[in-house]
């Protein structure tokens, strides 16, 4: 049951696969033995465990799909947008769900709530709860507006994100947002998250 690799040599089965096939051929016993050798070097897989399935992703393909933005903003794209441009875009594309000033409606409230997290009625918004500004770029670009996600240009995403930060008192009215300035925004709740301590009850 050896599976040919791209380089023409026989595949050494991974241990789990070898066990599943062991009943089908005597030769599998020998394969299982090599599988046991492979498990001893568990961790990053060696070339010997490959099946030769799939094709290489090209650099251009990876670049086109690699849209997740890290919290420090190192992966933020080029582009720029002003708070003023963002206000106009927000009114056109976002306000019908999130309210004219981000006060919420069909969609989440986006503005205010700072200082309420420890209260009986916490208000979780971009300004009060979101820990990292680059994450806002990531989310708006991939998922908003809900009726037409991924329809905003990078410049437009910078503008809308800038407007939301402005509404939350985190950017001045005349700000123009780009990668470096977005990554430099320190969100009020940046240090508000703690690791999972469970089990915590009883």
């Amino acid at each position: 049951m050896a599976i040919p690799r791209r380089d023409g040599t026989a595949l050494r089965m991974a241990p789990r696969a070898a066990i599943g096939l062991a009943a089908t051929a005597l030769a599998a016993i020998a394969i299982a033995a090599t599988g046991l050798a492979a498990i001893a070097s568990a961790g990053p897989a060696s070339a010997e465990t490959r099946y030769g399935i799939g094709r290489p992703a090209t650099a251009a393909e990876v670049a086109a799909w690699n849209i997740d933005i890290d919290r420090d903003g190192r992966k933020l794209p080029a582009g720029r947008g002003s708070v003023a441009q963002g206000g106009a875009l927000f009114a056109e594309r976002c306000a019908s769900c999130h309210g004219a000033k981000g006060e919420g409606g069909l969609g989440d409230r986006l503005v205010g709530g700072q200082g309420t997290l420890a209260s009986a009625q916490p208000v979780k918004t971009v300004g009060s709860f979101w820990p990292y500004a680059p994450t806002l770029f990531d989310y708006v670009r991939r998922a908003m507006p809900m009726d037409a996600p991924q329809s905003l240009t990078d410049d437009e995403v910078y503008a809308v994100v800038g407007y939301l930060l402005n509404l939350n008192g985190l950017l001045p009215d005349d700000a123009v947002l780009k990668a470096r300035s977005l990554a430099a925004v320190r969100m009020p709740n940046r240090d508000g998250f703690v690791p999972d301590p469970r089990p915590d009850v009883p």
Binding site: R16, L21, R50, A57, W65, D68, T135, A143, P195, V201
Partner: protein, 434 residues
């Protein structure tokens, strides 16, 4: 009774009373009124009340051939089961990012039918042509790969039975409002999943040193993104293409999803199109602004992955009605940390607990069915179950959870669910109204 009653007599009398009551209860279907043995005995059915399918008649479905073989190319439930459907809230603001629940109280066993599996979507349900779908693996790998669905299905396959549970099942503040078992904990379902180990696919791409997280992204309109810890990815995580023997339903991620057994459902990314191997989490919206647990001091717990041990009695449960006499108590239990070791049931408002019978198979990170034989004496009662998993963790009371986490943490509410049984036999949510 004259004179002292022996234990044997007592058992026999109880059994007779129970079976008599059950006969009359079954004969009259759900039309039980009043309750109590005297009323039940007086209502012994007359032959004239017999339905078409009962003696002495021969029902019409025996006197003419039934529907043609293969009349339904894809089988559906009996039309008489048309009320067994997903629990869909009627008054949501929108239905693009929303959830609907499994009717747990209508189901038996541990496997959720595919058509009744709970749903939680963030950008609607995409209609994906599997021939057009691609999975990319990149980042800290030796060989960035693009896989077709045919490619994915060429890898060695594995089938495992696991539950998936939404982390907000239910919101801490919703626990007093739910009427049915589905209202309260219907965001859990269980299926046999078939796919390839995520480890196998990651090893095909070749992990580089420093690979600590895998950022998974869906091909839905939310491009939903979660960061999966590499330890889980290399342990029991699967890339799944089939559910209960058939291809995934669109609502469950067709044609390909992640399955992280025992972790909050949101991490089992549906419609999977990309795995980016990294040295750090993405800190995406779904693991910062959402799916974090706010504590009374204003901090929020992050990366709270595991769904802790939980159970619920599904029969008798809220909105159902029982009659005096024998009633089997049954329900489901599960734990994200492994197998269920024990389920205890209390029928006296938590004063005493007795061990329920666990129905085999008892599987790792899967629903486990439990049962307890019970004779209801017709007096008001509160019944509830609590699960203990293989780690010794015991399902907490809601008061214990709220004491530790307050009422604003929203996610990961695994509290004991009490059901109140009124003298009429009606069953309702056992939490006192706030």
């Amino acid at each position: 009774m004259s004179g002292p009653e022996s234990d044997e007599d007592r058992v026999r009398n109880t059994t007779e009373v129970a079976s008599r009551s059950r006969r009359s209860f079954l004969a009259r279907g759900t039309a039980l009124v009043g309750g109590g043995l005297v009323a039940a005995r007086a209502a012994e059915p007359a032959a004239a009340a017999s339905p078409a399918g009962g003696p002495p008649g021969v029902p019409p479905w025996m006197t003419t051939p039934g529907a043609e073989t293969g009349a339904q190319p894809y089988g559906t439930p009996s039309p008489f089961e048309k009320t067994v459907v997903k629990n869909i809230p009627k008054t949501l603001k929108q239905y693009t990012s929303a959830s609907v629940r499994t009717p747990l109280q209508e189901l038996d066993g541990i496997i959720t039918p595919n058509g009744l599996f709970y749903e939680r979507h963030h950008g609607g349900v995409p209609a994906i042509d599997p021939a057009q779908h691609r999975l990319m693996i990149h980042g800290l790998v030796e060989r960035p790969l693009v896989l077709t669905m045919d490619d994915v299905r060429r890898f060695p396959s594995v089938s495992q039975i696991h539950f998936i549970e939404c982390s907000g099942n239910p919101d801490f503040k919703a626990i007093r409002a739910g009427r049915t078992a589905s209202d309260l904990v219907g965001l859990v379902s269980c299926a046999e999943w078939t796919g390839v180990r995520l480890r196998t696919v990651l090893e095909e791409a070749g992990l580089q040193p420093g690979a600590k997280w895998v950022i998974a992204e869906g091909a839905d309109a939310a491009a939903l993104t979660r960061s999966l810890p590499i330890g889980k990815c290399l342990d029991d995580a699967l890339l799944v293409y089939s559910q209960n023997g058939e291809r995934l339903r669109p609502q469950q991620g067709y044609p390909l999803r992640v399955l992280l057994p025992g972790y909050e459902g949101n991490m089992s990314v549906k419609w999977l199109r990309r795995l980016n191997v990294t040295d750090a989490p993405a800190y995406s919206r779904e693991e910062t602004a959402k799916y974090t647990d706010l504590m009374p001091d204003g901090t929020a717990r992050q990366f709270t992955f595991t769904m802790e041990a939980k159970s619920v009695i599904t029969r008798p449960s809220g909105t159902q009605r029982i009659g005096p006499g024998f009633n089997e108590i049954t329900g489901i239990a599960w734990s994200g940390r492994g197998t269920i070791a024990r389920v205890e049931v209390s029928v006296d408002d938590g004063r005493s607990w007795q061990a329920a019978q666990l129905q085999a198979p008892v599987l790792d990170k899967a629903l486990t069915r439990f049962r307890l034989a019970w004779t209801w004496n017709g007096e008001p009662a509160v019944i509830q179950s609590r699960a203990t998993d293989e780690t010794g963790y015991v399902q907490p009371l809601f008061s214990e959870l709220a004491g530790a986490r307050g009422l604003n943490s929203f996610y990961h509410n695994n509290a004991v669910i009490p059901w109140r049984i009124a003298e009429s036999g009606e069953v309702s949510n056992g939490y006192p109204k706030a």
